[in-house]
Symmetry: C2
């Protein structure tokens, strides 16, 4: 009997979790059937090309094309195109490598041909030999808009151009209300026996997936066992601005904040072993809790963490 | 007093003539004011990007960015983007270099923003430090369609993909009838004291410029002295398929064919010194004729030929 596992993933942290699951799923006798829903809300057009950073990070990571030092972008890549665009007067703060440009050119061409973004993502995943299906939450355009002390910013403007220095006062997912979820995303949630929330930014990455109409509800009503991995280690994130974004919203960066943010959506929370002191407080909120080494550096770190999560879920008796 | 010179130019041969004029015009006390009308009819979309091969050849040549060995494309360029597009399943017979891709990305983005192609061309020429203005015949889309023994082909399909092997039975400039000439092109013709037809393909390069409504007429009625340089040397072209295209149309490849094709549009014809035997036949058709070394390899070849053309025109008494 196969067990359907669905991962909700953002960028770098989500891709590491996805890779851990892919390593497990690649075993010959594996009974896990893994799908990944990615984040499209930090998509943005650069130089007239549609760039989808989190989806690409997932795709490049899963296909072994990722620049492992950066955690994003493609390995063995150059910056000839971007340098030349700069020479033509273009604003080039968003780093896009030469090989990477081919992805954006391909995606943009197919979008202009009227092909569904989900279908384009499938085509790219096939071309890259991606071992897990990457599912888009919506084929519509949903974009994170951040109200900051330096004005309204897109996610990439905040994250890449301003290096996360502005204070984020409010987060909006532009277009989310009018968006339709993809049948693939609804099906994946419906099919899931286990739903794992990757240790991604709960406000902008997982938050954007949950902001897609229908998805939060489907997850809330799902019969699956739902487990989140806290992105915090000792109150800080490994990468990315989730910690300072939560603090700016008046939230703390303990595992309890994750429990609150995912209230009604999860049955269990995995926290870092250094945060083990929070286990009973989490359990008092009606959640199952596990302390594990959540820092994922090597492939074996990724696989071990995801295997621990799966084992934890399988031995759980969920009381709905 | 400055003398306004207008060059009608196709790709490689046209760019060499343009460079010859640019070298002359760069002299401190030069009284020539040179403009170039280029050919847009071999433009085509590749990978969703708008590529303008003849205009780029002019621009890269004039700005010193050309790959001199090829005569087209940019120097010091790579093929990373194209290789990766091929890995994504794209058909990559049209060679586009990495630095070159930046031009196409920039142009496509600006076109999608609704900017006039003439304005985009100006922006690119400025960014490249192009010493002469390159003028588009039209801001509308005009595309060469070739009826061949292997079916209908675009110019690049015929020229690059099929290496000019199909037999061209008919040439059509798709969109030409509905196109409007640019004010810049009409102005350049109106201002011109000398109009030079570069040794480009008279059927598809110069032919496409002349097919733009209003331009043939303006040249026919111009008060300028109009001179064409034959692209044939001993009945053959230096580069490109003009010779076989003329033969397939039942025309011969002597300088007289050029005189016929440009009938009513030129006052003088410059032919290669190896074709000097045709001089009197050309003069019998009412044209002034000059034999010169028309093969342009080095910069000094280009400059010498163009200087000879200008000197020839200046000592002419044109009887209209």
């Amino acid at each position: 009997m196969s067990i359907n596992v669905l991962l909700l993933a953002g960028g770098v942290g989500g891709a590491k979790a996805a890779q851990g699951l892919a390593l497990t799923a690649s075993e010959q006798d594996c009974h896990y059937n893994v799908r990944v829903i990615g984040n499209i809300a930090d998509d943005e057009e650069f130089h007239g090309l549609w760039v989808s950073p989190d989806i690409d990070t997932l795709m490049y990571t899963l296909s072994g094309e990722i620049n492992t030092q950066q955690g994003w972008g493609m390995k063995n890549d150059g910056n000839t195109v971007l340098s030349q665009l700069q020479a033509l007067g273009e604003d080039t703060w968003m780093f896009l490598g030469d090989r990477d440009f081919a992805t954006h050119i391909y995606r943009t061409q197919r979008r202009r041909q009227g092909i569904r973004p989900s279908q384009i993502c499938r085509e790219l995943c096939t071309a890259f030999g991606c071992p897990l299906p990457i599912i888009l939450p919506s084929d519509d355009c949903i974009q994170t808009r951040l109200s900051t002390d330096q004005g309204e910013l897109s996610f990439q403007q905040y994250f890449v151009r301003e290096r996360c220095t502005p204070v984020v006062n409010a987060i909006e997912f532009h277009g989310a209300q009018q968006a339709t979820p993809t049948p693939e995303a609804l099906q994946a949630i419906n099919d899931a026996d286990i739903i794992i929330f990757a240790p991604s930014n709960p406000l902008v990455s997982i938050g954007a997936i949950l902001a897609t109409p229908g998805l939060r509800d489907a997850i809330a009503k799902s019969r699956a066992v739902r487990l989140a991995i806290s992105p915090f280690i000792g109150g800080r994130t490994v990468k990315g601005p989730a910690d300072r974004m939560l603090l700016a919203q008046g939230l703390d960066t303990s595992p309890l904040s994750i429990a609150s943010l995912y209230d009604g959506l999860i049955d269990a929370l995995v926290i870092d072993e250094s945060d083990a002191g929070w286990l009973s407080a989490i359990e008092q909120r009606g959640l199952r809790a596990l302390a594990a080494q959540t820092l994922m550096i090597t492939d074996s770190d990724k696989r071990r963490l995801m295997d621990e999560c799966l084992a934890f879920v399988e031995q759980m008796e969920v009381s709905p």
